[in-house]
């Protein structure tokens, strides 16, 4: 196949080259024709023309009567005869030269002829003059014979003249001879007459001399000879010219035919070439066509057929779905195709099988997918239901929070009021329990509400400066009691490099820590609960890691993640055993995450758990102003610290100083008694003594508290610091032991060591509630005109009663309104120094009332009166709302007496 192909190509190339060669030859021929042959033909043509012209000039020379014309023609002929074209061949050159010579000769002949003719004319003239002169002698009378003689002579002369006049017309030599003879005869007569003396008589009268006449006649007779010469020259000239003319004619036609034949030859050549080229082209085309046909046939057999066979094979494969076998081919390429088709057949077969399997799998899949989709739809529905349920719950709780808090407020308030009355220690204890329970319930409520808020994402974190130690103390307190009860060791390990002050949300932090500690205590029967505080690098400016470890029951691995979920404890049995709502960790986790930290647990059942919280905090000084607690401790109160341990003594003394107290610290019992006596004598007695129960030097027989203050008047309150329960011998539950001891020891309060600032503050606050205030402390709030006029706008009766009780004995003038509208009326009518405005009220709520009051004040041009909002929610956004409405400050419910008095005092001072 390839060979055939190359063969065809080769043949094609050869033919092509041949054709090109022929075409090239034709082109060359055409070019040389134009460049070489054509000029030659042109030269021939031009020469022929010049030859014709030469002949014409020759003709002029021969025929023209004008000598000037003949001369011009001869000169022109000479120039023409010099033409270089004639020098092509010697023969031509000689011929042309001969022609010119002939023409020159002809000219000369013609000149001569002219001259002879002129001679004849002269002689004729002479004769004519003679005759005239004879004629004019007619007046001479002659006698008869003379007259007749003269007349006859004259007559003869006339005849001679006539004859002479005819001479130049004579062409024929015969005529010439005849005329000459005649002339001679006549001339003889004349001569005879002359000899006879006929003209003698005329001579005397001036007639022509006979001699002249004779001469003239003789000369005239010579004209015939001249004429003969002329005729002879004519003949000569004619023959010369004929020869020349003939030669020129032949030359001219020869040139023309030469030119024609050159052209014809060349064209014939071209024609033949063209014919050859044409036949060659035709032949080539034929050959190519044949080759193409052959090639096509070959292709058909070796290429097309196999391809068709392969195609049919593929068809069969598709129909019958099995492999095929095809006949082998000669051409390698076709065979390759065949093999490929066979393989394809096998592949297709297998593919068909796979396809079947796939179809089945597909069907099964479709069913499953439909199933899944349905399940997903159900799930989506369930999720929606759950979400809406949760949402409903949150909304419910949020709206209920106010309703729930209000009675709680009353309960706690009443408990507070009750504890202010004179109670026995037992009664006090009962009140404490009932207050504590109330507080716990409140806490639970808060937890739930908190969680709701946190889950709904409505929590706003505070960014204020606070003391880490305070928060730790606070959290500690929450767990300390329970830990003591259970006999657990409550340990605190704060790193020395831990920052004292932080910027963050202290309340939430205390909540978190309290929750962790509380849980740890709850779930530990024996052993310890340790809180470790370390710096956490890389987490804000003051990142901290709080680790709460306990030796409790531990948490199984599978529960460790789920305990952070709501309402989940390790299992339902733990709820029954340990109590609690199970919300704590959930809230904790939410809060931690909200604060940008993380919380996790490591635990082993039976070996205890470790909860770790890492939180970022900012450094103090970067934001916010520290909130100040209104110290529950009366300012400048004298406190004596009597503790053995110097560190503890310093810490406690510092705390007391921070609270605004005047502190003396001693470590010796006798020294203490000395201080007390001195102060009492000086009129600046100690209001409280902090006594270490384990102080060396205490008398053994008397309870230490009594021993301390015996004989001191006024009697200061004694706060007894007892060691933590782990140091004491096991016995009845610590609470009962504590209470009994307190009673026996005569202490106002018993505090566990280590005593935190908060605990201290609380204890002192409690103590000082009973104690008469030192002079100058806690003045009665006064208004601008005497007593402070307080307007209370509160819809709940119990709350109104509460405030009334708080303010009894304070010297304020209290007016009450049941709702905003009433409050507004009273305010307008009677005015007030301070307004206590409950925010949630029917008819007109606190916000509207406040706004109305402010508007009225603006209208009247009065200075705004302080309006203190009483709000169930102390969260930031609530506070903001109150302030925006126009309040000057707020108090969170349940309202504490001290807080209330503090606020009134503050605003009174301003007013």
């Amino acid at each position: 196949m390839a060979v055939a192909g190359s063969g065809v190509i080769l043949i094609g190339l050869c033919l092509g080259l041949l054709i090109v060669h022929f075409q090239q030859s034709i082109a060359d021929l055409a070019r040389t024709t134009r460049d070489e042959v054509l000029p030659v033909v042109l030269v021939h043509q031009r020469t022929a023309i010049n030859v014709e012209r030469l002949a014409r000039f020759g003709e002029t020379v021969y025929s023209s009567a004008d000598p000037a014309a003949r001369r011009t023609a001869r000169i022109a002929a000479r120039i023409l005869a010099q033409d270089a074209a004639f020098e092509k061949s010697t023969k031509t050159l000689e011929g042309i030269e001969r022609v010119f010579e002939n023409i020159s000769s002809v000219e000369r002949f013609r000149e001569e002829q002219d001259r002879l003719r002129r001679t004849i004319t002269e002689r004729l003239g002479t004769l004519t003059r003679l005759i005239e002169s004879l004629e004019t002698r007619h007046e001479v009378v002659l006698d008869g014979r003379a007259a007749i003689a003269r007349h006859s002579v004259l007559r003869d002369l006339y005849r001679l003249r006539l004859l002479l006049g005819r001479v130049d017309a004579l062409r024929d030599p015969v005529e010439l001879r005849t005329d000459r003879e005649f002339f001679k005869v006549v001339a003889r007569d004349v001569v005879t007459a002359l000899d006879a003396g006929v003209l003698r008589p005329l001579e005397r009268s001036g007639g022509p001399a006979p001699g002249d006449v004779r001469a003239a006649v003789q000369e005239a007779a010579g004209a015939y000879a001249l004429q003969g010469s002329i005729l002879g020259m004519d003949t000569e000239a004619a023959s010369l010219w004929d020869e020349a003319k003939h030669y020129l004619g032949e030359l001219s036609s020869g040139l023309t035919s030469d030119a024609a034949s050159i052209a014809a030859d060349r064209f014939t050549e071209i024609h033949e070439f063209a014919l050859r080229a044409m036949w060659l082209s035709a032949g080539s085309v034929a050959v190519i066509v044949i080759l193409v046909v052959v090639l096509a046939a070959l292709a058909r057999r070796h290429v097309v057929e196999p391809i068709m066979a392969a195609t049919r094979g593929l068809d069969r494969v598709q129909r019958e779905r099995r492999a095929v076998l095809l006949p082998a081919n000669r051409l390698r390429e076709m065979d390759a195709i065949r093999l490929a088709v066979e393989r394809l057949g096998m592949v297709l077969n297998r593919t068909a099988l796979y396809a079947r399997d796939l179809e089945e799998a597909n069907r099964a899949l479709e069913v499953e997918v439909a199933e899944r989709v349905r399940a997903q739809a159900e799930l989506a529905q369930a999720k929606e239901a759950a979400e809406s349920a949760a949402m409903a719950k949150s909304k419910f709780l949020a709206s209920m929070s106010h309703e729930i808090r209000t009675p709680m407020n009353a309960i706690l308030g009443m408990a507070d009021m009750l504890s202010e009355t004179r109670l026995t220690t037992e009664q006090q204890r009962y009140v404490d329990v009932f207050r504590t329970s109330g507080e716990m319930l409140m806490e639970l409520l808060n937890d739930i509400l908190d969680l709701t808020k946190v889950e709904a994402g409505k929590v706003e974190l505070e960014r204020i400066e606070f003391s880490l130690a305070e928060i730790l103390d606070g959290a500690w307190e929450m767990a300390a009691y329970a830990a003591r009860e259970k006999g657990l060791a409550l340990e605190r390990d704060v790193a020395p490099d831990a920052p004292g002050r932080l910027v963050g949300d202290p309340v939430r932090l205390k909540q978190i820590l309290g929750n962790l500690l509380g849980n740890a205590v709850k779930f530990t029967e024996a052993g310890f609960v340790r809180l470790r505080v370390r710096r956490e690098p890389g987490l804000g400016e003051n990142g901290l890691r709080f680790t709460c470890t306990d030796s409790g029951v531990g948490i199984p691995a599978d529960m460790q993640a789920r305990i952070f979920d709501s309402f989940t404890q390790a299992d339902s049995t733990t709820t029954r055993r340990y109590g609690g709502t199970g919300l704590g960790l959930s809230i904790t986790r939410h809060l931690v995450e909200l604060m940008g930290g993380s919380v996790w647990v490591e635990s082993e059942p039976g070996r205890g758990s470790t909860f770790t919280v890492v939180l970022p905090f900012a450094a103090p000084g970067s934001c916010g102003a520290a909130a100040e607690h209104a110290s529950a401790v009366p300012p400048a109160v004298r406190v004596l610290v009597l503790l053995a341990d110097p560190t503890e003594r310093t810490v406690v003394a510092e705390n007391l100083l921070l609270m605004g107290a005047r502190v003396e610290d001693v470590d010796d019992f006798d020294e203490a008694r000395l201080f007390l006596a001195e102060a009492a004598d000086a009129g600046d007695p100690f209001a409280a003594v902090l006594l270490d129960s384990a102080l060396p030097g205490l008398p053994a027989d008397v309870p230490p508290a009594m021993a301390a203050v015996r004989g001191v008047a006024p009697l200061p309150a004694v706060l007894l610091l007892v060691p933590s329960p782990s140091d004491t011998t096991p016995g009845p539950p610590a609470a009962r032991r504590g209470a009994a001891r307190t009673a026996g020891l005569g202490a106002a309060r018993v505090l566990d060591r280590p005593v935190g600032r908060r605990a201290l503050e609380e204890a002192l606050a409690h103590v000082f509630r009973d104690a008469p205030p030192p002079s100058g402390i806690l003045p009665v709030p006064r208004g601008a005109e005497g007593a402070l006029r307080v307007l209370l706008v509160e819809d709940i009766r119990s709350n109104r009663a509460l405030v009334d009780l708080y303010l009894r004995g304070s010297g304020c003038e209290l007016t009450m309104a049941e709702n905003g509208l009433q409050g507004l009326e009273i305010f307008k009518r009677r005015g007030a120094d301070v307004v206590l405005m409950d925010m949630q009220m029917p008819v007109m709520d606190g916000f509207t009332a406040t706004a109305a009051i402010r508007a009225w004040e603006r209208e009247k041009g009065r200075d705004p009166v302080p309006i203190v909002a009483l709000t169930a929610h102390a969260y930031k956004d609530d506070v903001d709302r109150c302030l925006r409405a126009g309040c000057s400050g707020y108090l969170a419910k349940p309202v504490k007496k001290a807080d209330l008095l503090g606020v009134l005092f503050e605003h009174a001072a301003l007013a």
Binding site: I75, I79, Q82, A84
Partner: protein, 259 residues
Amino acid sequence: MPRLAALGCLLAVFVLAASGAGPARAAEGEVLRVATEGTYPPFSFMNDKGELAGFDVDIARALCRVLRVRCELLAVPWGEILDGLVKNKYQMVVASMAKTPERDRLVDFSDSYYRSRSAFVARETLSGTALPDALRGKVLVTQKGTEQARYLTDNYADIADVLLTEDMNAAYDALVAGRADAILSDSLQLYGFLTGPRGRGFDFVGEALPAADDTSSSHIAVREGDEELLVRINNALREIRLNGEYDAINRSYFPFSVY
């Protein structure tokens, strides 16, 4: 846009074709400065109106017409005519100039545009005698600086007196006045003289100079190396030969073909 582009291409092709067509074509507005003698009748002379006329002039104009350029004809004395061409004062010289090797070194010559042999003319009385005897001891006159002058000095200086004049008219004057016995000049010119009024009594003497002699054909001269102009002139010559213009000019001066 493609349509416009195609049109543009077509136009470009046309322009190119037009510009490339025919070697005889030249740029529009081109001027060709042509020099001729002006004192060499009937080839170049000043007519009654004071304009240049003659065979050379007519040939030059015909060539310019074919070349489609404007002809500016100048009359330049024979002695300076080649010099002026070399110095590019004009591009062409149509002045019946013979092509000699010496001249070919300075300028380039076209194909011949007419042929004419040089010959002697003297009083009729000398006509019959052959050369050089007929002119022995005679005074021979011709134009200075011509090939004819060179021929006289080369061949007749030792047997005759050679008189050279500023131009051919002066030579003829000398002959007619009798100051010279014979003149050597171009046959075509001599034809004019002999067949004119002043030529009575004069005739050719002896054979004309050989046809192969340089003096026997006239060429157009261009600046050395001006190939393009030369080709154009040769092609134009061929064209006027073929289209009959040459013949028309020829006939108006001479009764025979001079090509």
